[in-house]
Amino acid sequence: MMARKKTVLVDCDILVVGGGMAGCGATYESRYWGRDLKIVCVEKANIERSGAVAQGLYAINCYMGMQWSENQPEDHVRYARNDLMGLVREDLGYDIARHVDSTVHKFEEWGLPIMRNPETGRYQREGKWQIMIHGESYKPIVAEAARKAASDIYNRIMVTHLLMDKTKSNRVAGAVGFNVRTGDFHVFRAKAVIVCAGGASHIFKPRAVGEGMGRTWYAPWSSASAYALPILAGAKMTQMENRIVLTRFKDGYGPVGAYFLHLKTYTENAYGEEYESKWYEHTKQMVGDYVDRHPVPTCLRNHALLEEVKAGRGPIRMVTTKAFQDPHKETVGWENFLGMTISQAVVWASQNIDPKHTNPELTTSEPYVMGSHATCSGAWASGPSDYAPSEYQWGYNRMMTVDGLFGAGDTIGGTAHKFSSGSFTEGRIAGKAAVSYVNDLGKELPQVSEAEYEDLKKIVYKPLDNYCVGRNEIVAGTVSPSYILPIHGLQRLEKIMDEYVGGISAHYMTNQPLLTRGLELLTMLKEDLHHLGAEDLHQLQRSWELHHRVLASEAVTRHTMYRTETRWPGYYYRADHPKLDDQNWHCFTLSRYDRHSDKWELDKAPVYHIVD
């Protein structure tokens, strides 16, 4: 079956993998600085509606407002540092914050409707960092800019592996993948690659496991390619243990930001009591004075909610009935969902929940691994050349520890709170740096080995062969002794991560023995991935999404084992090391995977803080 698949060779200067917010930013900026370069963006779906912003957004969560002196970049660094319990790459975060306003101003110029405060004429603030938008078409608008910039956009190609230079083992030389519609094998040979792929949903078992399993908080198509691609290429990763748990409206995972910040709704337990202050002393014993910071870190607010529910006083509810008496606030509350989480409107309509009359339930989600929200997992990247300390700087801005390999958005670690605008901005930063890299290459062009991509071609299509052969053994149905389907592997992964690495059924708790057993089971799952069976190209896509999720999950598990403290209670707990330990762990965790030996190395790196 594999032999019938055509190989399509594409040569380019810059290859952008993933056309979400970061990828569109990288594509746009690469063209601005690299007028004569061939810039190609490859996306597994359709950039018109791909990535985490496919559905739209009702707010831009990262905007300084420097033109009105609302905030300065260093204020945002302090905010992100505080929210992540002290540990962020402040050099990278500052870099995004100092550029993000120009991104948002371009979005408005392009046609994104940004709400204005009628009294001040400024952008309507939802909170200190958030501005409110009518963002149903946020992604189509940004995609239009990327299409204008790219030499070519390849939609519906799932990138499975990066290609390495045959003359220099630590240099990237392109990527391979397959077209989900035609089945063609695509080999992209590139001088620089910018990974802008998505973070990871569906590595931990979701709360809904039936038809509703797709209604995860983060999009189900965020399949950890952001991590698997760099990990396989030998890039160093950081903070992979720093998974995020979201407090959201029950079942739809509708966002709470506008409700808390703009509509001034608040939470209470099942008996109408405020509960966060009850857990203050308890939390302080775990994390010390981090609990006294303002605003209270997201993980610690989760922690109070979790403890209150464990004490038997759930469900926790959002008190909306007062705010929603104001018709303007009621409209904002509903449009907030319709703009970015339509499912929450579906859930409320189906259960007759009108928040004007009923206070809706909140819940905590399963954990996700990503690099752009209130969490910062991802690749270890070089910082900006004008101020990053030498330990954070080994080349071009946003270049990973692999030559020519850049990243942005969910892919780059240590930079929490970039959200949509910051991800696009980081894509721009990486795009300009990649143009510099390509300009400086001279005649030393990366060399791609035909043998390498031919070997990968066999690996990529193997699930189709497995199914084709194994299917003949059985009468019908999904049970085969020779292969497992992608959904089988996914559900096993989710169960392992849930039970051993701190998912919902374990109350986000884990320890060394659990993690050790989890790794044993993950190893067997990795072996079984050689026996994945794919009935068609759609299932082949699911097969490679699963490969990426499993590798990212292994990184999460190893990092969680390495950091012997509980840094972010409310996100996860190391029950055997239940307290925050600044003496030993006020640092980043780093890992590097060697695909030849299948070995991982873990290490620490220092955290540099901006003065004050």
Binding site: A54, M66, K148, R215, W334, V346, S350, Y608
Partner: protein, 153 residues
């Protein structure tokens, strides 16, 4: 379901197949019409619903937590620049909302190559495209490396 396609409305044009971020809208080979092949990988993002020229696609909330009888319908009008919603509760109550989606004509964004080519000095600086003008603060903020130092316990 979550999305499903009405047999009598769908003409098999494939717009939903092209747009679905999850690759779950496919054309049924017998009926030559679209259907959701993997409902449990549907995010209910409504991308296909909005893209359907026949209004043939609807959503029935996830069976594991959404009781029947609801509906959330949408009409996205690119030329008008609006999106309109109609929410019907299980008990029959209804709510309507309309929002703008874009303030400029579709296709009007300039390519970055249509701007004046940047100078070598700009390339060597920390500025990104359209900066410092687009920042609206005169110049790009910067830190000195002396402001960064390692954390000590």
């Amino acid at each position: 379901m979550p999305t499903f396609v009405y047999m009598t409305s769908c003409d098999g044009c494939g717009h939903c197949v092209d747009i679905c971020p999850s690759d779950i809208m496919h054309i049924d080979t017998t009926y030559r019409r679209a259907f959701n092949v993997e409902p449990n990988f549907c995010w209910e993002c409504y991308s296909c619903v909005k893209a359907c020229p026949q209004n043939a696609i609807d959503v029935r909330g996830y069976a594991d937590f959404a009781p029947l009888g609801h509906s959330v319908r949408v009409l996205r009008e690119e030329e008008k620049g609006t999106i309109s919603w109609k929410i019907r509760f299980r008990d029959g109550r209804e709510k309507y909302f309309v929002s703008p989606i874009r303030t400029t004509p579709w296709g009007s964004i300039k390519s970055p190559a249509d701007y004046e080519a940047p100078t070598p000095e700009a390339m060597a600086s920390q500025e990104l495209a359209h900066e410092p003008d687009a920042l609206k603060v005169g110049k790009l903020p910067a830190l000195s490396s002396a402001q960064l130092k390692p954390w000590t316990a």
